[in-house]
Symmetry: D3
Subunit: 68 residues, 6 copies
Amino acid sequence: MKLSARNILPGRIVAVTKGTTTAHVKIELAPGLVVFSAITNEAVDDLALKVGDAVSAVIKSSDVMIGK
Amino acid sequence: MKLSARNILPGRIVAVTKGTTTAHVKIELAPGLVVFSAITNEAVDDLALKVGDAVSAVIKSSDVMIGK
Amino acid sequence: MKLSARNILPGRIVAVTKGTTTAHVKIELAPGLVVFSAITNEAVDDLALKVGDAVSAVIKSSDVMIGK
Amino acid sequence: MKLSARNILPGRIVAVTKGTTTAHVKIELAPGLVVFSAITNEAVDDLALKVGDAVSAVIKSSDVMIGK
Amino acid sequence: MKLSARNILPGRIVAVTKGTTTAHVKIELAPGLVVFSAITNEAVDDLALKVGDAVSAVIKSSDVMIGK
Amino acid sequence: MKLSARNILPGRIVAVTKGTTTAHVKIELAPGLVVFSAITNEAVDDLALKVGDAVSAVIKSSDVMIGK
């Protein structure tokens, strides 16, 4: 499946923390460049996400702000 | 101002395209790693965004999905 | 690629309207059940979206509110 | 109150799971077509959401991606 | 219809600007406190939004960041 | 850092509730006008957010719906 989301950034999972319903996953895109994702625990289980996995951070362009 | 957003990714603007109300801005985080942002034209004017500017892509972690 | 997004709703495109930078796409999930999507023109071109295409509406669960 | 959100999809609640702060609610729009929502526990309490309730899933069109 | 969104902020429209597909609407919540909204042109037409209208800005709590 | 987000609403924190991974923070913008924010626990710790702090609610205009 190809996505309309303009940002599909490949990386590797460096941390997975599950909460009661919401999980936090950290993805390293490049050395020192880490993206933080908050998803459902169900998604973590369904995709069997774990440290070391090759994944992509997927972000809709309307969710990207700019700071200058 | 320090932000609660967990993703503040530094880069450089490589493209700015203004529409009638919505603008598209591309930010290069690293060679070949470009993030696409859709913001208001007013924001582009207010921040005087132009190609070459050092900026950050700011993304709330609840807006980051994962693909595997 | 499998996604963390919990909502991947299959349907068929019934309308595509491109603006200057933002496009609107309507997807029929079931007879009379239409989902409205606002994406970039670039995504419409990249995926070659047109009326009749079989596609999925992809929605992160944190973007779904409830009205009662 | 009428909403600007273009997606107001009627259905019935089939599951409510409360976490520590975030709750997950599943809404069946049609047989086999279930939408997953992550909202605050406070919203679940305030709307007294429970299995069997007739509700609508409310989604802003800028939060709908397309996969093809 | 009662909403799960925790932020329903009453105000008055002070500006409406339609683009090709996306419109911008400004809502004054209190003297000098203006909220900016980007919605579809279709929503502006459907709700017949115009300057002076009493409306509410509706925002999901997961879309509110904090700066300090 | 100046932000593209069009809504940067100054106020004062009136409540902080941490969950397992997600925290809820309430910000009073004006007497009786409270904004509810759901952010990560890490952000609460990183910004040392506590009741009484002068902060801003930061909201992207594409995340603001309108009810009439």
